[in-house]
Symmetry: C2
Subunit: 359 residues, 2 copies
C-alpha cells in the first residue's frame, strides 16, 4: 500500500505584492483550503491581513517560516528576500519556487516553464526559478516552432505594462495621467521619465559594454539557458508603454526551415498554454489581462524568406508571466510526488539539487 503523505502546506512570501496577490487568487481558484496556506510579509506588513476565500490570512514575519516549514514556498518578492528565504529553509525539506532573478542563472537551480522544459521537474529539485515574465511569454510562444523546425535567431520588441514595476508602477501611471488630462504639473513617479502618454526604454540599468538593459539581458541569458543554446542570437528591445496590465511582444523568429502560415498556425494551435487569437478583433494586452494563456495573433511569414515568421503575442505578465507559472510548477511537483509515492519511490532530500549552491 502506498505511503500516506502529510497534507501539503503552502507559504506565500511577499503576499501583499501584485504577484503574491495573484498567486493567492490562483490558489483559491485551484481549491486550496485557507488552512493549507500561510502568508509572509516584510516587517512593515506583519500583523496585517490579506483576504483569501471567505476569510483573512494574517501576515507572519519571514523568520517564522522555520517553524513547521511549508511543503512549498512561493517566493513573490525581491532577490534579497528570496536569498533570505532560502537561507532560513536550508535545513528544511521545503521546496522553494522563486519569482525573483536571484537563482535564475545558478546552474544547479532549474529555470522552468512547464510547457517548455517541465521535464526538469522530474528530479524534484528543492529550489526552482521562475523565468522573467518576458522570457516566459516569448518561449511559450516560440517553443513549439523551435521543436518542429529548429530556431536560428530571435528578434523581439516588447510593449510592457507599467505593473511590471509593481503597484508603484500602476500608481505612477494613474497619477501622472490624471495630472496630464487636467493640465496640472506631472508629479514624479517611479520611472525615469513620466509614463503618461509616452513610451520609453525599460527602466532597468543599461550594461555599458553591450548596451542592453537589465530586462533585455535577462531575456537573452534565460532564453539561451532554457533552450540550452548558449550562442543563440536573441535580440530584445524592451519598452514600457502606458498600459496597466499585460505585456505585448512583436516577434520575428528565424527558423531552420521554410514554413507556411498554415503550418505555423496548425502547430501553435496544438501547443500547450497557447491561444490563437480569433481573427476579426485586434489582439491587445488590455483585452487579455487576467487570462491564463499566451495569446498569439498576426501570424505572418516573410514573403522574401519563408524561414522568417512574425508573431504578435500578448500575455498577462503577472499571471502566466509570474504567479501562474509558479503554481503550475508546484502542481507538477505535487503530481510527481504522488506518482513516486504510489510507485514506492521516495526522494532523498540530500540528493535533490538546489540549496547547496544557492547560499
Amino acid at each position: 500500500m502506498p505511503e500516506q503523505q502529510p497534507p501539503i502546506t503552502i507559504g506565500v512570501v511577499g503576499a501583499r505584492g501584485l504577484v503574491g496577490q495573484e498567486a493567492l487568487a490562483i490558489l483559491h481558484q485551484r481549491g486550496y483550503s485557507p488552512k493549507a496556506l500561510r502568508v509572509f510579509g516584510s516587517s512593515r506588513s506583519v500583523g496585517l491581513t490579506v483576504p483569501y476565500a471567505d476569510t483573512e490570512l494574517t501576515l507572519e514575519p519571514l523568520e517564522a517560516i522555520t517553524h513547521n516549514p511549508p511543503t512549498f514556498v512561493l517566493c513573490c518578492a525581491d532577490g534579497a528576500t528570496a536569498r533570505s528565504t532560502a537561507d532560513l529553509l536550508s535545513k528544511s525539506t521545503s521546496t522553494i519556487i522563486d519569482n525573483s532573478s536571484a537563482f535564475r542563472m545558478i546552474p544547479e537551480v532549474p529555470l522552468v516553464i512547464p510547457e517548455v522544459n517541465g521535464e526538469q521537474l522530474v528530479q524534484q529539485p528543492r529550489v526552482i526559478a521562475n523565468p522573467n515574465c518576458s522570457t516566459i511569454m516569448l518561449l511559450t510562444a516560440l517553443n513549439p516552432l523551435r521543436a518542429a523546425f529548429g530556431v536560428r535567431a530571435v528578434q523581439v520588441s516588447t510593449y510592457q505594462a507599467v505593473s511590471g514595476a509593481g503597484r508603484a508602477g500602476l500608481e505612477s501611471l494613474r497619477d501622472q495621467t490624471h495630472a496630464a488630462v487636467q493640465d496640472r504639473p506631472i508629479p514624479d513617479g517611479i520611472f525615469p521619465v513620466p509614463c503618461a502618454f509616452d513610451v520609453f526604454e525599460h527602466e532597468s540599468a543599461i550594461d555599458p559594454d553591450s548596451g542592453f538593459n537589465g530586462e533585455e539581458s535577462k531575456m537573452i541569458a534565460e532564453s539561451q539557458r532554457i533552450w540550452a543554446m548558449p550562442d543563440l542570437s536573441v535580440l530584445p528591445t524592451c519598452v514600457r508603454v502606458p498600459v496597466q496590465r499585460a505585456h505585448a511582444q512583436a516577434i520575428t523568429v528565424e527558423l531552420n526551415r521554410t514554413v507556411s502560415v498554415a503550418t505555423v498556425q496548425d502547430i501553435l494551435a496544438r501547443a500547450p498554454g497557447v491561444n490563437i487569437a480569433p481573427p476579426g478583433s485586434p489582439l491587445t494586452p488590455a483585452s487579455i489581462a487576467g487570462s491564463d494563456e499566451v495569446h498569439i495573433g498576426r501570424i505572418r511569414v516573410d514573403p522574401n524568406d519563408a524561414r522568417r515568421v512574425l508573431l504578435w503575442v500578448c500575455c498577462d505578465q503577472i499571471r502566466k508571466g509570474a504567479a501562474l507559472n509558479a503554481v503550475q510548477i508546484m502542481n507538477r511537483l505535487i503530481e510527481l510526488r504522488h506518482q513516486s509515492s504510489s510507485s514506492g519511490r521516495t526522494t532523498s532530500v540530500h540528493s535533490a539539487p538546489g540549496y547547496a549552491s544557492t547560499s
Copy 2:
C-alpha cells in the same frame, strides 16, 4: 545676366489638417511672406481662416487653384483630393508635392526623402510623392548604414502616435482617457478598439494574402522602391500606442558586413537629418515632438552576429514624417531652379516627369 524668375507662390491644400497646419508653421519659420501663400480647404471650410504670422489666410475652394496656379502646391490631404488637385493643375506649370499615398507607387513619380534619394529632384519633376511617415524615419536612420555596408534585411516594430490618424485620433485618445481615469464608460473613438491604456495593431486594413496591414505594406513597398531593392526583406509590425505625437521604432538591420557600435555611431553622427540622442536620459517620442530630426538612440550590435545592428528611433511624424519632408523637397527644387536659371539652363515643362502618368 541670369533671367529674372517671378516670385515663388505656394499653395497649401488641406490647410486646416494637422499636416497642413504644420506645413504653414514651417513655412513661417522659413520666412515665407503671407503674400506668397494661398490656402485651400474642403467645401466645409471654405471662407474660414487659418492664422499665419501676424495675419489670417482665408481658405479658398480647391477649384480656385486653377486661377494663377501656385508655383508649388503642398498637398496635405487624402488621396482623392490629391488626384483632384493633380487633375486641376494638369495644364499648369505648378509642381505638386503630395503627402498622400495616391502617387507613391507610380514609377514616373519620384518618391523622395531628400537625405536618401534627393538626387531624383535634379530633373525637376512636376509631381513628387512624400513617403509614409514610418518609411521616412526608417530610411533616414538606416540609409547611412546601407550606403556604408549594404543591407540584407530589416525588421522594425513601431510605436505610433494616435495623431498619425489626424486630429480625430488625438480627440479619441483625450476623450477615452478622460473617461477611463474617471471610471466612466469609454466613448467610441475612431480606432477599432479604445486607445486609452492599451496598444493595438495599426488600424489600416489587413491584406488577407500576406497578413500585413496597410501601414506595413506601405513600409515594405516604399522602402524597396526608394532603395531600388525590390527583393529586400522588410518586416514591419505596426502598432499604435497611447502617445499624442511622434512615432518610435525598434529596428534590427542586418548588414552585409560586421560592424562595431563605435563605427555605427560615427557614421550616423555625420549623417544628414539625424541626431544621436545623448546618453543619460531616455529617448522618448513625447520628448522630441516638434523637432526636425530623426533621433537615434540605443545603438547596439548583436554579440553573436556583428552584422546585426539594433536602433531605437524617434521622430515627429507630422514634421519630418510629413510636412517638413515636403518643405525640404520644395526648397531643394527652388535651389535647383535658381542654379539652372543662373547657368542659363531652362526646364522644359513638357519633358518633366509627372502629370501624364498620375491621371
